[in-house]
Point group: C2
Chain length 259, copies 2
């Protein structure tokens, strides 16, 4: 059950992703545009703006977009940066390189919360330059926030669509939509876990495993193992079933031996 506040918050978060434009400037390869559309859609972004793409629309773009062709088909093709940024209150530019320009550069993780915050109310833009040379100095000058993805210094050649994927992912997390309803662990209550350990110790005594060892030390080790696993009730039931049958068998053998 959601409280009204949480419900309202979810609406705002969904709205915040709807306010995000991905702007690709002068993209060379249509395949990258398609792959970027797919990357965006997996993270809930749908507004694609293309400034003078070299080839678009294109069959290769469609192929790479897979089932995200709808994002491609509603993409806005612009001839100027002004057109693409119309109405946008915050522009984050992706920069692959360290430049002369003395501008503060943030990590995606530091920057995307700023974008998500503004996007809750106003359009914001993520601006990506061309594959070969990134953003021009004129484009950089229009960005209030500069973002650089941390890459390996020995190989910095991040694909354009891969960059869109990473940034869209960070934005989704920043918008608070990174959690999912998970089939999470359902650990058993302490008393059930304790009953298992008592049963285990009894069983290990019965099969005479503990006799030859240091019982306390060994039980501690077994406790440590099962503590780490955080036992669920069903697992305790299975393990205790195994213990019961193990000792039953052992008991029968003992009886036979004592006949």
């Amino acid at each position: 059950m959601k409280t009204p506040e949480v419900a309202e918050n979810s609406v705002n978060l969904a709205k915040s992703l709807a306010n995000v434009r991905v702007v690709l400037s002068h993209t060379t390869h249509p395949g990258n545009i398609g792959a970027a559309a797919r990357a965006m859609k997996t993270m809930g972004l749908e507004q694609l703006y293309l400034i003078n793409p070299r080839i678009f629309p294109d069959a290769q773009a469609d192929a790479m977009a897979s089932s995200a062709v709808d994002v491609l088909h509603k993409a806005v093709v612009c001839s100027t940066l002004d057109e693409a940024l119309q109405g946008v209150v915050l522009v984050a530019g992706m920069s692959a390189r360290v430049r002369d320009i003395s501008q503060e550069v943030l990590t995606p993780r530091a920057a995307m919360p700023l974008l998500a915050e503004q996007a809750a109310q106003h359009p914001v833009a993520l601006l990506f330059g061309t594959e070969m040379s990134g953003l021009t100095n004129d484009e950089l000058a229009r960005c209030q926030v500069m973002v650089r993805i941390p890459v390996s210094p020995s190989y910095t050649s991040l694909n354009l669509a891969a960059a869109v994927q990473l940034i869209s992912y960070e934005l989704r997390l920043a918008a608070g939509l990174g959690e999912y309803a998970k089939p999470s662990l359902n650990p058993a209550p302490a008393e059930q876990v304790e009953r298992f350990f008592i049963h285990l110790e009894q069983a290990l005594n019965e099969i005479e495993f503990l006799h030859s060892k240091q019982p306390t030390k060994l039980m501690h080790k077994l406790r440590r193992l099962y503590a780490r696993a955080r036992l669920e009730q069903e697992e305790i039931n299975i393990l205790r079933g195994i213990l019961t049958l193990s000792t039953e068998y052992h008991g029968k053998l003992k009886k036979e031996a004592n006949k």
Copy 2:
């Protein structure tokens, strides 16, 4: 200057990425193998294991790998999962779907620190299933950690190489290698900022801008603006230079008028 502790830590972190295997099981499209190699290398991962790839080696794989072909060329092709996991102490499986299997599923952000911690000393593996159906139940059973990338519920079709990109990125961050030497902001000390505000107020008085307004309120607004910008010394010098020239011109005009 690095302290010895920091230097040692960096060595461990670099070593930890060298201990990470990306294992792709029964990959269908060679292009995805190439793109995955490129994705890995941008994040500093180089150990690629391929279990029964449908087509490999292949020209399309090489093309998509771009300058990461070295990762492809030293990839280890295996015929079984056992072979690919030889020596590995922790296996994280990527799962796209919610399954019957009641296993705890972590976000990449929660899971990668566990991998990075083990990788500091031992080989670990990131296991990715086929493009169409993901990991088999037998493969899932070999994973100690299940990871699901949070995707939009309305479009979950994340490309294999894009998934490798996101997980490699999170692992790089978890290994503490997500920061870069950035040309960071170098904010001016408080007294310099204060001298600028005094100069600004004087200048605004001199050009008779403040006379007609509410001076205190206006100065507060200007302070707020420049506080947000976190002025650097060089910027203060530029702004004060502008103020000096503005008032000089104004002063000359006044003199002329009073002649």
